[in-house]
C-alpha cells in the first residue's frame, strides 16, 4: 500500500492480532521457572510499622521486602518519597509492604491473609479539605508555584471594581479504567533481569530499575508487551511494579509475575487528582473582567510522584483559552493519606478547564450575555501573550471552529426549541452547553531539551525493510500505525515494508516516554527527519542505520522558578457543543448530541484521529457527569467497573466531529498533539448544558444525579 495523503486511513498494524484475540498480553505469558507475586498492603492510612509476622511459608514460597532491595528503597520518579516496600512508615491504605512469591496463587492468597502487620496508627489526613486546613503543617505542601500580575496591582484593581465575585469549584477523582489491568513480569537470568509488561515509558522503568537494583546498564532490560490502554495510568505507576518484580526475581532467582485484578487495580493505582479551584474576579458595571486570581489545590495523595508537574500544567491552563487582564495564579499540591494520584490524560488541564469554563459561564450570566458570546470576547488571538509571558505564535482557528459549529448544530434555533420544550415538559429539561479549550503539546517548558533529549533510530535491512527503533509504546492510541506511515511516506516505501516491533531497551534508544501528547509531534518529527536522512543515503542491498536527535524550537526560554516563558512549543485547539436532557425526577442525564471541532495541525490517520476524538470525548464527558469515585477514611469505595460507572455504548451518542488543518512547521507533515486534547472539553460542556437545562449553577464535577437532585430540592425550597 502506498500513501498519497498522509491522513487517509490504513489498516492498523496490530489490527488482526487484536481483533482475533491472538495477541498475548502480559497476563497471557508464561515462562519457565515462573512464580507469582502478591502484595501485602497496608490496611492503615498513616502509621509506623512496629512488626511484621509471617506465617510459616511452605517450600517454594518466600517473602520479599525492603531488605532485599540492592539499591535505595524508593521508586525513582522525581522525588525520593515513594518506598518500593514501606518498611518504616505507611502513608496510605494499600501501600505495598512485602511481596509473597510462589507457584500457586491459591496458596498465596491464603498466606496473604495470615500475614500480621502491626502498625502504630497516627492521625491521617483523609481529604483535600482537611489538607487545606492543615496546609501550614510540615510536609503537607508537596509543591507550589505562584505567578502572574503582582498582588498589589490586583488589589488596587479590585478596590476600584464594581463587584468582586468569588467562586469555589471542586473536581473529583477519575479512574483510568484501561481495559487491561496493570501487569509486570521480571524474567530472571543470571546476568540480566528482563522486565516485560504493560507500560507507557520504558526508560522511566529502566531508570527506576537501575536505581533499585543498583546495577549496571546492561543488567536490566525493559520490553513493552502489548498494552491494553494507558491514559496516563501506565506512565509512572508501572515503575513501582517493575521494581517489585525485579527485586523479587533477583531475590528468589526465579521469574516473577505480578498482575492485578480489577478491584486491586481500582483501589491501589494512581488516579486523576481531585482539585479545588478558587476564583476571585473583579468586574466592572457591565460585567467585564478587570482582574482574575486563581488558587488551585491538588490532592497529591500520599507521595508527590508526578504531582508537581501536573500542577504546572493545571496552572498554565488556569486561564483557559482567554486573554484575561491582570491575571494572577498560585497552586499547591497537598499531601493526603490516600492512594497517590498521578498522570491522567490531560495532566492537570481537565481540572483547570472545567473550572475556568464554569467560572466564565457564571460570569456571563451576571453580565447577562449569552455564555459563548461572553467567552468569545476574551478568546486569545495569534500573537497574544500567554499567562506565563510566552506567546501564541501560530495561527489560531478557534473562531472559525466556533462559527462552523454554530451552523452545524443550529445553535440558536436549538436554544429556542429547548426553551419551548422545557416550558411544556414538567419532567424532562433539555440544555445546550459549549466549551473552548486548548492543549499544550509536548513536555512543559524546556523539558524536551533538558530532560528528555529524545533520540530515534531507523534500521534498514539488506532487503529494504525499515524498522523503527524508538522507546514509545503503542497502548491502543495507534502509534504503531501512524509512525510507520510517516516513515513510509517519507521514504516512498509501501506501508507494509516499515515495521515497528514492540520496543526493547536493549535495542532502542531513549526517544522519551509516551506521554504529554508528544509522540506524534516530537518523535514523529524526529522520525520524519531520520527518514529524510536515510533516503538521501539509501543504498540497495546493504544494512543501514540512521540516528536523529531532538532539536528545540526557538522560543522564549522557560523558567520554572519565575514560571515564565513559553510553556509549550505549540498548542492544539478544540470546541465542543453538547445537547442533553435531564430527568428532573431522577437527576439522570441523557446525552443527545455531541459535537467536536478540533485543530491538531494535520491528521496523520483519519480513523485513528476519530478514535482519539470519540474515546477522549467519552472519557471527558463522563468526567463531568457520570464517573464517580470517592474515598472514605482513606479507602476507595468503588472497586468495580459497574460501581464506578464509566460510560457504555448506551450512554454515549455518536459524536459529530471535524478536524481543521493548520500545519505546524515542527511537526511531521504539520501534525501536533491530539491525544489529550480530545478529553478536555467534555466535562465543561456537559456542565454548561446541565446548567442551561435546569437554569441553575453548579460548583463541581462530576454533576451526578445525586448532585442534581439535591440542587433541585434546594431550589424548590427557595421558591417555596
Amino acid at each position: 500500500m502506498s500513501l498519497k495523503d498522509i491522513s487517509t486511513s490504513v489498516p492498523k498494524k496490530d489490527h488482526s492480532g487484536k481483533v482475533s484475540g491472538q495477541l498475548p498480553y502480559i497476563s497471557d505469558v508464561k515462562v519457565e521457572n515462573m512464580v507469582y507475586g502478591v502484595l501485602v498492603r497496608s490496611q492503615v492510612a498513616y502509621g509506623k510499622i512496629i512488626s511484621i509476622q509471617l506465617p510459616n511459608l511452605p517450600e517454594g514460597y518466600e517473602a520479599v521486602g525492603a531488605e532485599d532491595i540492592p539499591g535505595p528503597n524508593f521508586v525513582k520518579i522525581i522525588k525520593e518519597d515513594q518506598p518500593i516496600f514501606a518498611n518504616e512508615w505507611v502513608n496510605y491504605i494499600g501501600e505495598p509492604i512485602l511481596m509473597l512469591v510462589g507457584k500457586d496463587l491459591n496458596i498465596l492468597y491464603s498466606l496473604l491473609k495470615e500475614v500480621k502487620v502491626i502498625i502504630e496508627e497516627h492521625q491521617a489526613i483523609y481529604t483535600l479539605d482537611e489538607a487545606i486546613k492543615q496546609k501550614s503543617a510540615a510536609g503537607v505542601i508537596m509543591a507550589s508555584y505562584e505567578f502572574g500580575e503582582s498582588l498589589e496591582t490586583v488589589s488596587a484593581i479590585e478596590q476600584g471594581a464594581h463587584q468582586i465575585i468569588e467562586e469555589e469549584y471542586d473536581t473529583g477523582y477519575q479512574e483510568h479504567v484501561y481495559l487491561e489491568p496493570q501487569g509486570m513480569l521480571a524474567i530472571y537470568k543470571d546476568d540480566e533481569i528482563e522486565v516485560q509488561g504493560s507500560m507507557q515509558c520504558l526508560y522511566y522503568i529502566k531508570n527506576a530499575l537501575l536505581s533499585a537494583l543498583a546495577c549496571g546498564d546492561d543488567e536490566v532490560r525493559v520490553v513493552q508487551s502489548p498494552t491494553g490502554g494507558g491514559f496516563g495510568g501506565k506512565e509512572e505507576f508501572p515503575s513501582m511494579m517493575a521494581c517489585h518484580v525485579a527485586v523479587a526475581a533477583r531475590a528468589v532467582k526465579k521469574s516473577v509475575m505480578l498482575v492485578f485484578d480489577r478491584s486491586e487495580d481500582m483501589v491501589v493505582t494512581t488516579k486523576r487528582h481531585p482539585a479545588k479551584l478558587n476564583y476571585r474576579t473583579a468586574l466592572d458595571k457591565v460585567g467585564n473582567i478587570l482582574s482574575l486570581s486563581v488558587e488551585i489545590f491538588l490532592d497529591g495523595g500520599a507521595n508527590v510522584g508526578l504531582s508537581s508537574v501536573v500542577l504546572q500544567r493545571a496552572l498554565i491552563n488556569s486561564a483557559g483559552v482567554y486573554k484575561i487582564p491582570h491575571f494572577h495564579a498560585k497552586g499547591y499540591v497537598l499531601k493526603t493519606n490516600t492512594v497517590p494520584n498521578g498522570a491522567f490524560r490531560g495532566f492537570g488541564a481537565p481540572q483547570s478547564f472545567a473550572g475556568i469554563e464554569s467560572h466564565l459561564g457564571h460570569l456571563s450570566k451576571l453580565a447577562n450575555i449569552e455564555p459563548l458570546e461572553y467567552k468569545r470576547k476574551y478568546l486569545v488571538k495569534q500573537g497574544d501573550p500567554t499567562i506565563t509571558k510566552g506567546i501564541f505564535r501560530d495561527p489560531i482557528l478557534v473562531e472559525d471552529m466556533i462559527e462552523d459549529l454554530l451552523k452545524t448544530s443550529e445553535y440558536k434555533k436549538k436554544k429556542q426549541e429547548f426553551q419551548r420544550f422545557n416550558q411544556q415538559n414538567l419532567r424532562y429539561k433539555k440544555g445546550i452547553g459549549t466549551s473552548l479549550f486548548l492543549h499544550g503539546c509536548g513536555f512543559t517548558g524546556s523539558g524536551e531539551r533538558d530532560h528528555i533529549k529524545a533520540t530515534v533510530k531507523l534500521v534498514k535491512s539488506k532487503d529494504g525493510i525499515v524498522m523503527l527503533k524508538i522507546s514509545n509504546s503503542d497502548m491502543g492510541q495507534g502509534i504503531l500505525t501512524t509512525l510507520c506511515k510517516i516513515v513510509a511516506k517519507e521514504l516512498d516505501l509501501p506501508y507494509e515494508d516499515v515495521l515497528y516491533p514492540y520496543p526493547d531497551t536493549k535495542v532502542v534508544p531513549d526517544s522519551g516516554p509516551t506521554v504529554a501528547s508528544r509522540t506524534t509531534m516530537i518523535v514523529g518529527k524526529l522520525l520524519e527527519r531520520a527518514a529524510k536522512k536515510l533516503k538521501a543515503q539509501w543504498q540497495s542491498g546493504v544494512d543501514q542505520e540512521v540516528v536523529e536527535h531532538y532539536v528545540h524550537r526557538e522560543m522564549i526560554p522557560w523558567d520554572e522558578k519565575t514560571f515564565t516563558g513559553d510553556a509549550y512549543p505549540a498548542y492544539s485547539w478544540g470546541v465542543n457543543f453538547v445537547e442533553l436532557e435531564v430527568d428532573t425526577l431522577t437527576g439522570n442525564v441523557k446525552l443527545e448530541k455531541v459535537y467536536g471541532n478540533y485543530e491538531v495541525g494535520k491528521v496523520i490517520d483519519d480513523r485513528i484521529m476519530k478514535g482519539q476524538i470519540d474515546g477522549g470525548l467519552a472519557q471527558g464527558l463522563a468526567y463531568g457527569y457520570l464517573e464517580k469515585m470517592t474515598s472514605k477514611q482513606g479507602k476507595i469505595q468503588q472497586k468495580s467497573i459497574s460501581d464506578y460507572g464509566p460510560p457504555t455504548s448506551l450512554d454515549v451518542v455518536p459524536i459529530e466531529s471535524k478536524v481543521f488543518d493548520n500545519p505546524y512547521a515542527d511537526g511531521p507533515y504539520g501534525a501536533k498533539g491530539a491525544g489529550e486534547l480530545t478529553l478536555i472539553g467534555g466535562a465543561p460542556a456537559v456542565q454548561a448544558a446541565i446548567e442551561d437545562a435546569l437554569h441553575t449553577t453548579f460548583q463541581q464535577i462530576p454533576i451526578t444525579p445525586e448532585v442534581i437532585i439535591e440542587s433541585l430540592w434546594m431550589k424548590e425550597g427557595e421558591e417555596g
Binding site: 507469582y36 496463587l105 491459591n106 492468597y109 498482575v259 492485578f260 485484578d261 486491586e264 419532567r427 425526577l585 431522577t586 437527576g587 439522570n588 457520570l626 464517580k628 470517592t630 469505595q637 468503588q638 472497586k639 467497573i641 459497574s642 460501581d643 460507572g645 464509566p646 460510560p647 457504555t648 455504548s649 448506551l650 450512554d651 451526578t704 444525579p705 445525586e706 437532585i709 439535591e710 430540592w713
Partner: protein, 290 residues
C-alpha cells in the same frame, strides 16, 4: 487451571434433577451470572464452590412460556433474551428486561435466577411484586405455589427447601384488560448498572375510578417495599387524584422506605427519587392500558 472440583451434575430431564436434589444438597446453577460472581475467588484461581453443582439451564421443562386462562406461566430457566422475543411476555416486563445488564448477560441470565438470587436490586422484582407473581416450586414430592413476597425473605434469602426447584413464575390475570403498568430503573449508567432505585406501578381504572393499584420499590430496602394498606386507601378514588390523596400516599411510603448510603448512592437520593417516581405516577392525568 481447572482444579479438582466438587461433583457437577447435568441431567437430561427435570425428574432426574429433582431426584438428585432430593438425595444431596446441591448448588443450583441456571445461567450462572450471579453464582459465578458470588463464588469467584481471586484472579487466576478457580471458582470455590461450597457444594456440588447442578446445572438446570438446559432443561426444556423449565423453558416454556404458556397461557393458562388469564395467567401467564414463565419457565424459570427462560433467559432474558428468550423472554424479549416471546409474544406472551408483557411489554412492561420486556422494558424492565432491557434495562438489565447487557446482551451477553441477558443471553445467560434467567428470570428464575433473578428471583432466587433475591438481591434488593434485582430488576425484575418490583414488577413481579406488582403483578402479584406466584412461584411454582417443584420437588419429588410434588408442586407448591407461593406468593413471591412470601418466597423472598431478605437479601439472598428465599424460602426454598433443599429439594425444590423454582419451575415456573405465574403472572396471574395479566391478560385481564385494562391495567397500566410501568417500571423505572434508576442506575448510574444505561447498561451494566446495579439499580440505585427501582419502581413499579400498576393501576387499573374503570370509568375514572381506581379498581386496583399497586406499587413496589426496589433497592431501597432489604427486599422490595410494598404496602397493601396504602394501596387499599386508593381503591375507589377517581382520576386525576386529588393533591391531598397524593400527599397522603407519598407520606405513607416516606415512613416505610428506609434506604442506605453505599458506594453507589446515598440514602437521601434513593428516598427522594423513589418518592418522586411515585408522585409522578400518581399525578398522571390518564393511564393508557398497556
Amino acid at each position: 487451571m481447572v482444579e479438582k472440583m466438587t461433583a457437577t451434575y447435568r441431567f437430561d430431564r427435570l425428574e432426574q434433577t429433582l431426584s438428585q436434589l432430593n438425595r444431596e444438597d446441591c448448588l443450583i446453577m441456571a445461567g450462572g451470572t450471579d453464582i459465578m460472581v458470588l463464588h469467584k475467588s481471586g484472579r487466576g484461581v478457580p471458582l470455590k464452590l461450597p457444594k456440588p453443582l447442578i446445572f438446570i439451564d438446559h432443561l426444556s421443562e423449565l423453558k416454556q412460556v404458556f397461557q393458562n386462562h388469564k395467567d401467564i406461566h414463565i419457565g424459570a430457566c427462560c433467559t432474558y433474551s428468550e423472554l424479549l422475543e416471546h409474544p406472551l411476555i408483557p411489554v412492561s416486563l420486556k422494558n424492565a428486561i432491557k434495562t438489565i445488564a447487557a446482551p451477553a448477560i441477558r443471553n445467560r441470565g434467567t428470570l428464575g435466577g433473578n428471583i432466587c438470587n433475591a438481591s434488593p436490586a434485582g430488576d425484575t422484582l418490583p414488577l413481579l411484586y406488582v403483578y402479584n407473581a406466584k412461584l411454582l416450586l417443584r420437588s419429588v414430592t410434588g408442586d407448591r405455589i407461593v406468593e413471591i413476597s412470601d418466597f423472598i425473605q431478605g437479601p439472598r434469602r428465599v424460602q426454598r427447601y433443599q429439594n425444590e426447584i423454582l419451575a415456573e413464575i405465574i403472572l396471574p390475570s395479566v391478560l385481564e384488560e385494562g391495567a397500566y403498568v410501568v417500571f423505572e430503573k434508576v442506575g448510574n449508567r444505561n447498561a451494566d448498572a446495579i439499580a440505585k432505585v427501582g419502581f413499579a406501578g400498576y393501576i387499573r381504572i374503570n370509568e375514572a375510578r381506581i379498581e386496583d393499584v399497586r406499587f413496589a420499590f426496589g433497592a431501597v430496602g432489604p427486599t422490595m417495599v410494598r404496602s397493601i394498606d396504602i394501596e387499599r386507601k386508593l381503591v375507589g378514588k377517581t382520576i386525576p387524584l386529588a393533591d391531598a390523596d397524593i400527599v397522603q400516599v407519598v407520606a405513607g411510603f416516606d415512613k416505610i422506605i428506609r434506604p442506605i448510603d453505599d458506594q453507589r448512592s446515598t440514602a437521601t437520593y434513593r428516598k427522594t427519587v423513589a418518592l418522586n417516581l411515585l408522585r409522578y405516577f400518581l399525578s398522571m392525568k390518564q393511564y393508557q392500558a398497556n
